[in-house]
Symmetry: C2
Subunit: 559 residues, 2 copies
């Protein structure tokens, strides 16, 4: 059965393997939420399935369940009231250990076949997943569909491709013949066994529960580990759905479903610390805030730990040919999902003397105004604004906007509540734009998660570059951007940011944004600054999830 799954999905896997080598555009799952692709009733069916979860107990037949847990609230104001089975950690660990013994010995193709089938089924459920992601994270529908569905599935497939490439390159056996004298030789027959390092714990975040978890989930699964998924208590449903689908596929393919289990918890009784420090847990993947991420790195000493934490991303404005194209693109990046992406720019560095546009100087103030105008225009259409902004996932983020406005700097654009006509109770605030001086590092050299943006007035672009790189080095950065028509400035910015471990995007205009990282082509998180130690996805992300242990036997000499 599992082998059949491998054959069924082999072409897609091979295309994915090719894509991670060339890093040209490729995608395994269609990103357009169209009935023509997903079925004419897919949207309605997905919404209905989601509605079915609300107000009920999510069915998940797994060990150690007693009582339920669940306290998700929709940033769009829906009444969710979903309860999840609460499994005790000891039972889950015991079940995962047992399951891993069998899973480890499943041949590579069968294991990978199961992973690919899970992804395929997740893909078919993308509308349902979109609703689950939207109403837990606050993403607008289109983003919830794409980032929560096909793009997350692509990231999962990418991890499977990396695991497959690394594991399929290992020989399973070898004959080793060494000449030991003029007439004699010795032969050893060697077998190499892949041993999982797990149990693997995947700790999800509240803003991108699937996109940021699938690489870890699928990399660990494909390399033979059992996985315990620990969703953020604010965004359980997307991962509960994922776990249920994974368990269905495992069971149908004849494997122990406890290869994948869910550890749901609540903010009052969090279980992450116990999970990630459990002696049986050998791999931890964590996405979330830096403070707790640092704690995980510090304390989960028995495990190999992969983290994506937070950063302070910079955009450097120097010069452009087309101001509108620049501000339009940047405004969208700032507004998208209300700045709640780990890739959103926070600090926009602008020289005090302004920038050069089409050969003419544009003052600092005019540059700032142009950017604010672009933001205002984007949000001027209520439907468009609602879709772009989504909603604020966490009330703490809304409170942070207030705090930032009070903390210092000049408010150039105040954050205002925005009405979402479809969801009147949605928590929506437009971006706050502050002007600060380059010397006010205490304000902008720290992460201010949410729709908060600092326009930093610098002496010149050289200072902008220096500050952007310094911030990346000390606070971490997942992305950076530069707008310049000068080749030497571009090269200098590139060199400085790359040396600080920040991926950089140059002169983006049109419908491609610094916030976006495409599977199979863009590395997400460099691992080379404090924003995290793991990259989605490179070889290092998979190679330490397994070990090779070998057996060798003397082959008796032929008479």
């Amino acid at each position: 059965m599992s082998e059949t799954l491998f054959s069924q999905h082999r072409d897609k896997l091979q295309a994915a393997c090719e894509a991670i080598r060339t890093r040209a555009y490729w995608s395994g799952y269609p990103e357009v939420p169209s009935g023509k692709i997903y079925g004419e009733t897919a949207r309605k069916d997905g919404a209905a399935a989601f509605q079915g979860y609300c107000g009920s107990t999510f069915e998940l037949d797994q060990p150690g369940a007693g009582g339920t847990v669940g306290s998700e609230t929709s940033p769009f104001g829906l009444d969710l009231n979903i309860r999840y089975p609460q499994s005790d950690l000891a039972s889950l660990v015991a079940a995962a250990s047992d399951a891993q013994c069998g899973w480890r010995d499943v041949d590579l193709e069968s294991r990978v076949g199961v992973c690919l089938e899970i992804l395929e089924r997740l893909n078919r459920r993308s509308f349902e997943m979109a609703c689950a992601v939207m109403h837990t994270t606050g993403q607008g529908f289109m983003m919830a569909f794409q980032a929560g569905g096909p793009h997350a599935q692509d990231r999962g497939l990418e991890a499977v491709a990396y695991a497959y490439e690394e594991l399929s390159r290992l020989p399973r056996e070898a004959e080793w013949t060494k000449r030991v004298s003029k007439t004699d030789s010795i032969t050893l027959r060697k077998t190499y066994r892949v041993v999982p390092r797990g149990i693997a714990a995947v700790v999800g975040c509240s803003t991108f529960p699937t996109w940021n978890s699938y690489p870890a989930l699928f990399a660990s699964l494909a390399t033979g580990n059992a996985v315990i998924v620990k969703p953020h208590p604010g965004a359980i449903l997307p991962l509960a759905l994922t776990v249920r689908i994974a368990r269905d596929v495992l069971r149908e393919a004849g494997h122990d479903p406890n290869v994948v289990t869910l550890l749901a918890d609540s903010p009052d009784a969090p279980r992450t610390r116990d999970l990630v420090t459990h002696p049986a847990v050998g791999i931890v993947d964590y996405t979330g805030g830096s403070a707790f991420g640092d704690w995980v790195e510090e304390n989960a000493r028995q495990a190999v730990v992969f983290t994506e934490k937070a950063g302070v991303n910079a955009t450097i404005l120097d010069s452009a040919d087309d101001l509108k194209a620049l501000t339009g693109n940047l405004a969208f990046s700032l507004c998208l999902y209300s700045g709640q992406m780990c890739t959103t720019p926070q600090n926009i560095f602008i020289p005090a003397g302004g920038i050069t546009v089409g050969g003419e100087k544009l003052s600092f103030d005019d540059t700032a105004n142009a950017l604010i105008k672009a933001i205002d225009w984007l949000l001027s259409d209520p439907a468009r604004g609602a879709e772009i902004l989504g909603a604020i996932q966490n009330p703490a983020t809304a409170a942070r906007i207030e705090q930032a406005a009070q903390a210092g700097g000049t408010v150039l654009r105040a954050s205002t509540p925005v009405v979402n006509e479809q969801f009147p109770d949605a928590r929506v605030h437009s971006p706050l734009v502050l002007q600060v001086d380059a010397s006010q590092t205490e304000l902008f050299q720290k992460e201010m998660f949410g729709p908060i943006c600092y326009l930093v007035k610098t002496a010149d672009t050289a200072e902008s570059i220096r500050l952007a790189a310094e911030t990346a080095r000390s606070c971490g950065a997942l992305t950076s951007g530069v707008y310049t028509t000068d080749e030497a400035t571009r090269a200098a910015a590139e060199q400085a940011l790359i040396n600080a471990g920040a991926n950089i995007s140059c002169n983006l205009v049109g419908p491609i944004y610094v916030n976006q990282a495409a599977a199979f082509s863009d590395y997400h998180v460099s691992g080379a600054n404090p924003a995290g130690n793991a990259t989605l996805t490179d070889a290092a992300f998979v190679t330490s999830r397994f070990r090779v242990v070998q057996s060798r036997s003397l082959v008796p000499a032929q008479g």
Copy 2:
């Protein structure tokens, strides 16, 4: 120049890359210390060069040198009295940081060319290195030549091959074109830059200063890191020689020689703790005792840490066709380099009812006696005995033999001083063989480094397997062995030991020993038990020594 080096050594690299895929027998450097291969005067020249170091100051033109350090003593009783320039850590770190900026930007082929040329020159100096290794570690000449020379070079080449495979697979750039509407598409040009994680610190051990350091040294170098080599104060010369040769090659190829530097220290003023916890150090490779290795893992939090520590290796005796072949092979493994290999068996598990030989039962006592007889025979020829035993590297090891004899169990074979006719002052002790009961785990379930062997009387082979696996799991194990003619017993032992992360050798007889791990074929240290977290060499050993940081730019649409 560096590129020329790559062309010169390309064939060898390609053969090495092929070998790590097939894992069939291959070697890049001849292991026979023959004048026909290395030149008729090579032996004499090597000895003379070594003599030249004794009683003088080793020349090494590197930064921050002030005063000298050096307190090596020869286990064979030679008067070494070699002084090394003592560089201060801050100066070395500053120089390495500078050097790394240039080295990082050298193209892959040139970097790899330099690595291969260093290895080639090390190979030509193998006789000189043999003397250096012999008189610091106590290895007999043949082992010092092979393990210190060509086998270590093979391990270095293997690491270069892994690094080259991983890095050459990365595209340096890509064009990424995505259709965004029926008529339009967007193109990004992306470049991917390899960023070293270092500075890399390589901490050597006193018994295999080159073999255990070269994989780390060359893996870090090939991936763009500057390397600070910190030899064990008891075995500086082999690594000082290595560093000098590396610096010569770097300089001649037009690179900053400070890409490789030496931090020599003394037992009175050790520098390892400061080095491995230095904020600028991003990679630590450590080989040595478990206690300090645990400290390194615990404290070098700013770095990725690779360790090879110690283990307690087991051999399980169940049945054999040819007793003499078994005991001859095992006795050699126990005697070789006086048990000072991390791969030497310590515990020999024998059922109380004895073993089966050629279908007949052989009692526990007769089995023990046969093994002791084989040891005695090996050592009965003084020249052969001296060559096999070598000398005891550390007086603490000699003291441990005494302690073990007193601590408990029955002495079946006492350790006695052995006279080395060529070096009358050599510190040589024959193996101590103790009989213990399976219940005396406090005696044998800990590492007793040196020529100390426990024959553990078990209820049956099932108990032998259980205890061997349990010991590997709790104390670590780098190797294990089983002798059995029963296929089911072999499979059970294999399964149990592999699950405990111990590589296993089955029914070895003749001139191939459980202690030996061959580059390009055998993985050394599984990383799956407490004996260490790194494998020489697998993909995981190289992939986290570098990161990829990317830049992407919009390609303007064609008019």
